[in-house]
Amino acid sequence: MSFVTIADAGFAPENDAPTRETRLAPVANASTDLESALAACASGDRNGLRLIFDSEAGRLVAVAERIVRRRDLAEEVVQEAFIRVWTHARQYAPERGSARGWVTAIVRNRALNMLRDGREDLIGEDRLETLQETDQIDQILAAWNKLDRNSRLRECLGTLDETKRNGILMAYVGGYTHGEIAGRLRIPLGTTKSWIRRGLAALRECMA
């Protein structure tokens, strides 16, 4: 029995590359540089990781901080994520999406897991205690406004009811659970779940 099978089963499996769709094209041209940098990491060249760090670390700390709410924890997340990028770089393939998306997903998962782990046992109430609630939610919702004017995601989020849009942003940007979203938006849990689900379906359709 291996202790890592389930644990490591996951977000970027190796075989059977998915059918690539045009939407999977790199989000930015910078991604091609990142792909080369990941290839360098895979061959054991630390300069590759340094390149990724120089171009992405600031943004990644910000992404993690929106989820874990504390700068020191966000840096911890990014530090662990970069080590993972280094050790798993050879598993990256363009079929998995953009290099930037791959690296970002590693950071997001680390941050979410730190949060969920803490929530379930030790760090418990920390997040609520330190939460500057209103600022935090404003900041999360602002992520939508900051999207590029021509962004399809911006436009499609704009077509959703405000509540659905806010729920989706709180989950993705801020790492909120269904329960937390229900509490903040003051709507019942079941309703929250089905609104978010419908919002996501509408978003998929709009972006297809």
Binding site: A7, I83, G124
Partner: protein
């Protein structure tokens, strides 16, 4: 295949948004290994939402962060590394890892036996013993809690503790009370701790080691990465 094809896009979105319950998430991650459609749906969902992260205002980065990363990088290219890296999809599910670690009864019971062996050679009996595992299910330490404000931590692995960090020992006497510090380790050495006065340790009480800044957690609650954790067993 576990999921109906028409549900795949939905579950992929909920996974990417972090909305799945831990059990659902673990199931989904296991399923992704054998379901290429599911993997493709997750990749698409990630790319759909990525602009929200690309647009984040970059934080100012201290060069110390790079130095910490570089100092912690393992050397690649060893045969063991290569094998394990290839065999493992690049996921990052710490929580599932911990869950799995907790389930690794074999390792835990073996080490529990070691812990018991240790304790039997002493005159004062601990009330509980906790075997602490890392997220890979590897045994890292044994905590013996004597319940009279004395606890001992026996490290069974070599930790590299940076000079500005310290290992802190925690327990969770109850959810209401929250996590309580049992004390700090000096460097990475086993130690007897003078703990604060706490309720009598119970069966299945959680014990944990975290890496905190030197002098211990500034908040009085664990803030750093979890090095190892485990649930106590009453000694019989």
């Amino acid at each position: 295949m576990k999921y109906a094809r028409q549900d795949i896009a939905e579950i992929a979105d909920e996974y990417v948004l972090g909305l799945l319950e831990p059990g659902e998430q673990a199931e989904m991650e296991a399923e992704m290994e054998s379901d290429p459609d599911l993997r493709a749906a997750v990749a698409m969902s990630r790319e759909r939402f990525l602009p929200l992260d690309v647009g984040a205002e970059p934080a100012g980065i201290d060069k110390a962060l790079w130095e910490r990363i570089e100092a912690a990088l393992p050397v690649l290219g060893g045969s063991v590394d290569e094998k394990s890296a290839r065999g493992r999809p690049s996921n990052d599910n710490r929580q599932t890892a911990w869950r799995h670690a907790a389930l690794s009864a074999i390792a835990a019971s073996l080490l529990l036996a070691v812990g018991l062996g240790v304790s039997l050679t002493r005159s004062v009996e601990p009330l509980v013993i906790a075997v602490l595992l890392n997220d890979r299910g590897e045994v890292q330490a044994v905590v013996e809690d004597f319940g009279n404000e004395n606890a001992s931590v026996r490290l069974l692995t070599d930790y590299q503790v940076p000079s500005d960090k310290t290992i802190q020992v925690w327990t969770l006497p109850s959810r209401d009370m929250g996590p309580m510090s049992l004390g700090l380790l000096e460097g990475a050495r086993s130690a007897s701790l003078k703990a604060p006065e706490l309720p009598q340790p119970k069966d299945a009480q959680l014990y944990e080691l975290t890496l905190e800044q030197a002098g211990g957690s500034p908040t009085g609650r664990p803030t750093g990465p979890i090095l190892a954790k485990g649930f106590a067993k009453l000694t019989r």
